[in-house]
Symmetry: C3
Subunit: 303 residues, 3 copies
């Protein structure tokens, strides 16, 4: 990595990504380190069970511990403290900071004020690089990262997770198919960037034609809030749901992923199939974050 | 124990119970183990200071650590995630899961979806087996578990704690007296089950006649919400309050218990008497939960 | 210390304070102890990011761990439990208790009911002794504690922090200047006590004349809520704000402090000057609380 901070998946070269995934695989295989005495500061300015618990687990699995800023409504933030001040206080407590914030750019701003490593755990419509890394890890474990065909389906317009993953995949030899209703297509600028990166990108409004080609199908939720009309939502969402029947047309080794939580876009009968990898995917957050934290805390030690 | 999960006190034989209480007594006497690296997942779908803090303490006293799902209103649950999905994610983080949930049957359901041990820490009107075990531990430490006479007083209609304890006591040679207002008597089905188990059960509307016989008096709160009429509540609740004066008619070695929190059903002047064991009872949650966790994590290790 | 509990800075002699600060300096310099197995109970009956996270960090830096009562709205307190009952339960979980409570006198009350050390982390308008100790530590590190001139500016009427610090400074050879609007002067009884202690105390309505003499300038926030009239607030608050320009009239080695969070009473351009010590001050909470906890847990061990 070129930086002490991890703000965006974009800052990671292919070699960086592979180094992190290799290290994650070691932790997954039982590798142990002893970071007794190291503290990770958890600064979550908006709720996030999944990500917060995963970082908490990763740090504790490394032998270290965490200190939590607590919910914003019980914090100094409510008294009008700036983000810059909050993180400058927390850097006195912790050896690294994980930051989740509703405003795009928050992690970059925070990183400019502190001397400990900052890890972006999601900044509004911005980046969430550890999600991208655990997605890549899951794809690599199941399908490899080269010469694969990936389908990404659902809300492609607002999905931060999807944009980062698509961008990261351009570093690898992956064909990408985007499946969504017309109203939730990839934004023009994301499409443009993908084309500029030389990605092999195709868009579809239905899964049917492309499904048999896919090594990986990444499903995301279509949110009710995106539709003014409830009937339109129901009709659209219904077309982008999958169940065990849908997957009969897929390759036997198709890997189905989802960033979770799901509501009903993947039926429960898929859980019983060999295609289901979304729970593994969530679990992979632990070794991936262990690898990252172990690496970034080392850099911190060297300062 | 016949199961990897602890859902109900009913699944514990007398021998199981005694094994757990014996082990708890060892921890109480200073026994130490080193579970460094073991993580307990805390999934509390409704608030519970007492139980959560007690499990957190027990796991840390074993040398392990905990990871907390956090409050439900900041979790994926709010986005519509099912209980089955939530626990399947958490099993990737933790070596065992403690679950508190407002719906009866939640712990059983959760246990069907995960491979790590699930401990029920209360599921609505259902079971709360570790409360029962710490109650039994406290009775055993103070009065023994055989050839004793136990009085249980207060709200016997809605009290989950009381039903489990009464049922568990049928495994031992304990006479049971139930003292409550007519409107808050033991439910018919609980009475039936106790009779079926061959328990020596008697019901009273007042404490006075039975008090001198008791080795243990277990007091529970009568909740205002149970009464449509404030005056009726006050009158009824007043009759089931005890103070130091009340206890003058009791045996010198009467053990008074209460699951806490109390409001005013036990007057503060009882705290100064040798009868008061309700704080010890709360503290006993730690060695009892240490014993359980140590045992269940061993089973987990063997899998 | 004469007591097992730390309720008020008043109970600390000059020798006590110096012993704690000396020990804090050792921790600051990298001294390590191993309190594995010791648990600190965090009982925060009102929100406090800064103080809670600092105690949490301090205990973990000592090698120990913490157990948290959680927010009051999810606790037994909401069911009507008394403070005395709550702390008597928590003493069964933890080796020492940190208590923050909205009511003055709460820490004293709590300390009367439990056998583990209680540390007051703020009780309403009452005391907050660890804040005073970290303030003294910061002053000592930067200006020494003898033969210094300290200015305290802002809301001197309601500021608990300010009253404790002023009182503590009377044990040392420090001149004290109080700078505030007329309506927010030191309360009469605080002034009286300071005079009785033989303190060299002067009051001002402006900073200008006294600034060049100061070794330390302690700034506090003037709260909007203190003023019925928004315009009056703006005018008053504006006069007690400092920026880099203001400080050109100060000594080169002036130490500027603030208990944080700040809103705008210290402009961001001060952060870049050598005067800025308010973030260090927050960080100093960790070694100071490590020193206190290490000392009080030793006393606990001896019991």
């Amino acid at each position: 990595m070129r930086h002490d901070h991890l703000i965006s998946a974009r800052q990671l070269s292919r070699a960086d990504v592979e180094a992190v995934l290799d290290r994650a695989a070691e932790f997954d295989a039982g590798e142990r380190v002893d970071r007794t005495g190291d503290l990770l500061g958890l600064c979550f300015f908006e709720p996030s069970t999944r990500t917060k618990m995963s970082f908490d687990t990763a740090m504790k699995r490394l032998g270290g511990d965490t200190v939590d800023m607590g919910p914003v409504d019980s914090s100094s933030v409510k008294k009008g403290e700036s983000l810059a001040d909050t993180v400058r206080v927390v850097e006195g407590y912790a050896d690294a900071i994980v930051l989740r914030h509703p405003s795009e750019g928050a992690a970059t701003l925070a990183s400019e004020f502190v001397d400990v490593p900052v890890i972006n755990a999601g900044d509004g419509a911005g980046q969430h690089p550890t999600q991208t890394l655990l997605d890549l890890y899951t794809i690599r474990e199941n399908a490899g990262l080269d010469d694969i065909t990936v389908g990404i389906m659902g809300d492609l317009k607002y999905g931060r997770t999807v944009h980062s993953l698509a961008e990261a995949l351009t570093e690898f030899d992956a064909g990408q198919h985007f499946i969504s209703p017309e109203s939730l297509r990839l934004p023009r600028n994301v499409r443009y960037d993908l084309h500029e990166s030389g990605a092999d990108v195709r868009e579809h409004t239905g899964l049917e034609t492309v499904l048999p080609e896919l090594d990986v199908l990444y499903v995301t939720r279509i949110q009710r809030e995106r539709f003014a009309d409830e009937n339109e939502y129901r009709q659209v969402a219904g077309e982008y749901r999958i169940d065990a029947g849908t997957l009969e047309a897929a390759r036997d080794d198709l890997t189905v992923m989802h960033p979770l939580p799901r509501v009903d876009e993947i039926a429960a009968d898929v859980d019983e199939t060999d295609h289901a990898h979304y729970f593994d995917q969530a679990h992979n957050g632990v070794p991936v974050r262990m690898a990252l934290l172990d690496r970034m805390l080392d850099r911190g030690d060297r300062r």
